[in-house]
Amino acid sequence: MTTTNKRGFAQEVWDFFCSLKLSIFLLIGLALVSIIGTVIQQGPQREYLATLSETKIRLYSALGFFDMYHSWWFILLLYLLTLNLICCSIKRLPRVWKVVSEPVLVMDDNFEKSLANVKDLKLKGSKEELKERMAAFLRTEFAAPVITESNGEYHLFAQKSPWCRLGVYVVHLSIIVIFIGALIGSFAGYKAYTNIPEGGSVSQVQTQSGKMIPLGFDVRCEKFSVSFYDTGAPKEFRSVLTVLENGQPVPGFQNRPIIVNDPLTYKGITFYQSSYGQSDEGSLYHITVRDRKGGAPVKLNARQGERVALPGGAFLSVMEATMDVRPFMRGFDGPGAQVEFTPAGGNPQPFVILSDKYESFNAQHGGDLLITFDGMDQKFYTGLQVAHDPGVWVVWFGCFLMVVGICMAFFMSHKRVWARVTDSGVTLGGSASKNPAGFEICFDDLVEKLGKA
């Protein structure tokens, strides 16, 4: 008795994983829990955490809500879905495979009754003649038939696109392939980030978890530039990169421009334009100071934050500057700098100075002095996203399978036609796996053509 119980239990488990109800429950469940991670910030910033109460933070971390899509229970749901679709496929595929590989060749009376489309035609001629005629007819109008002789009658069977019945299983397989690709990526690949100042180079990059990964070669940033539209919106971020092996530039990877949406790949590692900033070291600001009462203009150079002595005992320091003020000040262009001006014996005054094109603007500040900003020798750093993902082609293959499978399952139909040939005529039967109304038109058309032939 224990064996039957065991078997009963195993059967129950099997039935549980084969059930469509479980699929629907898992799909809707995944849809519902996925919402959590879109509402609660993932990998939360400190500012966000400050808005939450102590209890909430403790609860959310215990439930894995701050990295929900990698939490054990979310992954478990994905595994359950995978198991469910594998079991469903194993259970149903053999039956479908039988329909595809071992078609019913003979339409007997019982089978005829199960068909939606049946038509008796009175045709002249012996059954041998009719058989030949029918075979030729089906070959030109539908598909090449298989002929079987049974009980003194000829049976013809022809079918179109039987394999489209497998579409559903192709989609199921595609999901497993995509998961495999994702797993390969997560175990054998990495996502990293690096900042390279203009003229500088890197040989290793830092992953999201803080691990340093050696590239096996060097990447040098020759130049970074950013351009803007008239509206001030960014137009292009461009880094010029060179790949170096043992300090020598690699042919074909020298001075390669990369922009957003046009990355550089070398030895399976791809570099994506991601961000930029002004390099801390290097920028030199050029300023011209002129006494309003007359006298020759004085040209000065300053580094960021450096207090520069001006004629007449005042001081000036440049806080920040740009070569293009359009994004920050509507109606102005050219270089501009945020400065702090300290008149002799006075308090520091912050203001903005622009190029000599805007003399009256610059004249608003500076006391006896007229200060203009001439520009800067600016150094940027480029921020690059670095990715190595050997699983990505597996994922694309899975996506391709999914599209093919969905098209097979949704837009194609397995159409079958049977013909029973006797001396008194032909009985035609037909069925389709999908779109019965569409097949009816196709079947009636076939019958009409046969009547005329």
Partner: protein
């Protein structure tokens, strides 16, 4: 003539079309229903011209990009795709009453775009300068539109079903008589989702391909990505429910309405309430 004028004309035509479809339900005259479809077709052609003109205008301004880049353009395109999917289903199955439940979605979109959104043509920011933009947006919105049509049909299903339950006499007269039978509505709902689901899948795949090409990650659980997956899960559940006993009809219709609500949240809610990569250039 400017594209903005043509968009206004489109909006008026969709309003007229909606009114004609209402008249069709009230009068039960076939010719009126046909007039509603022709009005929708005319509006669709005007809107196509308007979108083409806006595309040309962007070249005249020196930007030169397909009008699919900001919220205004996407709402206009969404209403265009809704009418396109409606017309395909209408010409194939000729159930004119559906127009009254679908064209208002397009009308609402056009009205919101024209009255409430900034219609300026902006140049493309670096992240959007890619051919993937077109493939991604077109597939996604055609999918969304098919779901909108499915939602309209499901609402008809739910109305008709509850009226029939309420009393047999409602079926004999009134607005209901022009509705297809609930069996046909159930089937049409399924057919519309069969159009939408492959397109949504393609939209998610093209989005993943683009993200991989631009950032090196095909999937980063960004709220927009996650919500598109939620929508995919809901419709996948719908498709599996079809072959399970007890999930056809009313429950399928409700699932279809929920699916469209999730679609709208994916399209708009994510941008209004959550943060992420899809900011429509804002």
């Amino acid at each position: 003539m400017s594209s903005s004028m043509l968009f206004n004309v489109t909006m008026v035509i969709y309003m007229v079309s909606t009114c004609i479809f209402f008249a069709f339900l009230a009068s039960r005259t076939k010719a009126v229903g046909l007039a509603g479809t022709y009005a929708a077709l005319f509006g669709f052609l005007v809107q196509t011209a308007a979108i083409g003109l806006r595309w040309k205008e962007s070249y005249d301004q020196g930007h030169g990009h397909a009008p699919l880049s900001n919220l205004f353009e996407s709402v206009v395109f969404f209403s265009w795709t809704i009418v396109l999917i409606f017309l395909i289903i209408d010409f194939k199955y000729k159930y004119r009453a559906i127009g009254f439940f679908v064209i208002p979605f397009a009308l609402f979109g056009m009205a919101w775009a024209q009255l409430g959104l900034d219609s300026g043509i902006e140049p493309l920011v670096p992240a959007l300068q890619s051919n993937w933009l077109m493939y991604h947006v077109i597939t996604c919105f055609l999918g969304y539109a098919a779901f909108a049509v499915a939602c309209g049909i499901s609402i008809m299903y739910l109305i008709r079903e509850s009226m029939e339950k309420g009393g047999g006499n409602a079926q004999a007269g009134g607005l209901l008589s022009m509705f297809p039978s609930i069996r046909i509505l159930d089937d049409l709902n399924y057919k519309a989702i069969m159009i939408g689901f492959p397109l949504l899948s393609l939209g998610i795949i093209t989005g993943a391909a683009w993200a991989n090409y631009a950032w090196g990650t095909y999937w980063s659980w960004d709220p927009k990505e996650t919500w598109s997956l939620i929508v995919w899960f809901v419709y996948a559940a719908f498709l599996h429910a079809r072959i399970t006993r007890g999930w056809v009809g009313r429950r399928a219709a409700i699932l279809s309405v929920i699916g469209f609500a999730a679609t709208i949240f994916c399209y708009l809610g994510v941008n209004l309430f959550l943060s992420g990569l899809h900011s429509y250039g804002k």
